[in-house]
């Protein structure tokens, strides 16, 4: 069970949250102009990293707001939580 630090409500247990998958996937601004391969890329392809990952969560049984989490997919350690639109904190051990 994860203890997830909601940026607005503080730490709450995982069962209060809904997972929204990989974060920062931008919808193409002009969908009609996008070739099919790029559209498939946007809709279906994911990094699915083994290691640190930025992912979206929604506090479904709390404030019902979305936010982003930096979490490790092997240790499940959580490094940071930040609201949508905020500057992305670097992944631990990197500057990116």
């Amino acid at each position: 069970m994860l203890l997830i630090p909601c940026p607005w409500c503080g730490p709450r247990e995982e069962s209060e949250f809904a997972n929204g998958g990989e974060a920062h996937i931008a919808r193409p601004l002009d969908p009609a102009a996008v070739p099919e391969a790029d559209w498939a890329d946007y809709v279906f392809l994911r990094d699915n990293p083994k290691g640190w990952m930025r992912e979206r969560w929604m506090h479904a049984q709390g404030c019902r707001r979305w936010f982003n989490l930096v979490r490790h997919t092997v240790t499940h350690e959580i490094a940071a939580a930040y609201p949508p639109g905020a500057e992305r904190p670097p992944l631990p051990g990197t500057t990116a």
């Binding site: 069970m1 994860l2 247990e13 995982e14 069962s15 809904a18 997972n19 998958g21 990989e22 099919e36 391969a37 498939a40 890329d41 809709v43 279906f44 392809l45 994911r46 990094d47 699915n48 990293p49 083994k50 990952m53 992912e55 979490r71 997919t73 092997v74 240790t75 499940h76």
Partner: protein, 416 residues
């Protein structure tokens, strides 16, 4: 390979069974192979076996980072069925089920296939309509299927509570009598032994750390035990498919999630079929040792950790007791998780990749065990000929670009 038989059993009894040979050689990696299969789970081993048996390609290595069958092959709930809704899936899984029916004889090893029947319960009017539709679709595809009324469900499996006043009343069920369970370890061992006997090298404790590509064509793999050249490379890495694809420079539409399962303490025989339920989400059978074997749904978050969260197990237990109040005092012995690679349409990817000579078999999600023989069969064909077998042609990677998805979410008789 020493063939197992009653005569051999009697002969080996004379020296108290101390002279049985190892199932497979402890092969050392050679410098080059015609085909390198990455991943010695059931699917990888079956691929190697059918490469040798059906296509005469025996200069093959199967590389495994851990021990043979120690991933999802040894972690699933061993359920076998072919009652999928869509034609593409039905054909693939039915081919697999037919192979299961002759597998013990083919491999000369008892995989303990027990066709005890698989029930898929319906709890709502929608479930009923979906179930009846699926039975009809199965029959049109030549797959056995029956619709049972609540009373017939109780007759087939007396311990299910069909009381109409329950939160999730049993309104009926589909039944595939040819479905059942098999012993998953024996499947891995059987394929390994039979592949080894045909000359395939099975190399454990050999993790692939890189995939060599030159001019758009695969040339070999880097491993923790040195570089290995390969004419063709077949990726069968289940939960780690995205990691392997990343080594070759492309991304996949799969997400890796933990899928948890658990077993109870052993009890006397009480459940002689497999029971699955979409709405309350439980699938349960009783093993030959007497333990109830149960599976949960996937944990929602991405993970490579082979462990999940407790609330998922708790939900699973709630579902079990909803259907079987008789199990309320049963204690659970073990829980574990495997890492499953889930596709957006809950169907696998079997076929070519953007890299020449590199083939991919992944995305089986929560239901790959039942497909082991069929998956190996069609994937071996794909690797050997460079073209997909007609059964796996619809399961190509480019269906996510063309839009020809095979959407088995909910249609596959279990919520994925």
């Amino acid at each position: 390979m020493q063939r197992f038989s009653f005569f051999q059993l009697a002969l080996n009894a004379l020296d108290r069974h101390r002279a049985w040979p190892a199932y497979w050689r402890d092969a050392q990696p050679r410098d080059a192979y015609d085909v390198v299969v990455v991943g010695a789970g059931g699917h990888g081993l079956a691929t190697a076996y059918y490469l040798a048996k059906n296509h005469g390609i025996t200069n093959v290595a199967v590389l495994e980072k851990g021990w043979l069958g120690g991933g999802n092959t040894g972690r699933n709930t061993t359920i076998i069925r072919s009652n999928y809704l869509w034609d593409e899936s039905a054909r693939l899984y039915e081919h697999s089920l037919k192979l299961w029916e002759g597998l013990s004889a083919d491999l000369n090893l008892n995989v303990m296939l027990s066709q005890r029947g698989v029930l898929n319960l319906a709890h709502t009017l929608h479930d009923v309509r979906e179930g009846v539709r699926r039975v009809q679709a199965n029959r049109l595809n030549g797959i056995d299927g029956e619709w049972l009324s609540p009373e017939e469900v109780r007759e087939f499996c007396p311990i299910i509570d069909i009381d109409a006043r329950r939160r999730h009343p049993v309104l009926g069920a589909t039944l595939q009598r040819r479905g059942g369970v098999a012993r998953h370890d024996a499947v891995a061992w059987g394929y390994a032994r039979a592949a080894d006997a045909r000359g395939v090298d099975i190399i454990q404790n050999c993790e692939v750390t890189g995939i060599d590509v030159a001019g758009g064509r695969v040339t070999g793999v880097q491993t923790t035990r040195g570089a290995i050249k390969a004419g063709k490379v077949a990726l069968v890495g289940a939960g780690h498919s995205s990691v392997l694809a990343g080594m070759a420079g492309f991304r996949l539409p799969v997400q890796s999630h933990p899928l948890q399962a658990l077993v109870s303490e052993p009890i006397k025989p009480v459940l002689d079929c497999v029971v699955m339920s979409n709405a309350v989400h439980v699938y349960v059978s009783q093993s030959d040792k007497g333990e109830l074997v149960m599976g949960a749904g996937i944990d929602a978050f991405n993970s490579y950790a082979q462990r999940g969260s407790f609330h998922v197990v708790e939900h699973q237990m709630g579902a079990l007791l909803e259907l079987f109040p008789i199990f309320s005092r049963l204690r659970m012995m073990r829980t574990w998780a495997g890492i499953v690679d889930v596709c957006p349409d809950a169907s696998p990817i079997i076929g070519r990749t953007p890299v020449d000579g590199l083939f991919l078999n992944c995305g089986w999600g929560t239901g790959g065990f039942k497909a082991t023989p069929g998956s190996g069969w069609v994937f071996a064909h794909t690797v050997a000929t460079g073209e997909p077998h007609p059964l796996n042609a619809p399961f190509s990677l480019d269906r996510f670009t063309t839009g020809a998805l095979i959407d088995e979410h909910g249609a596959a008789a279990v919520a994925h």
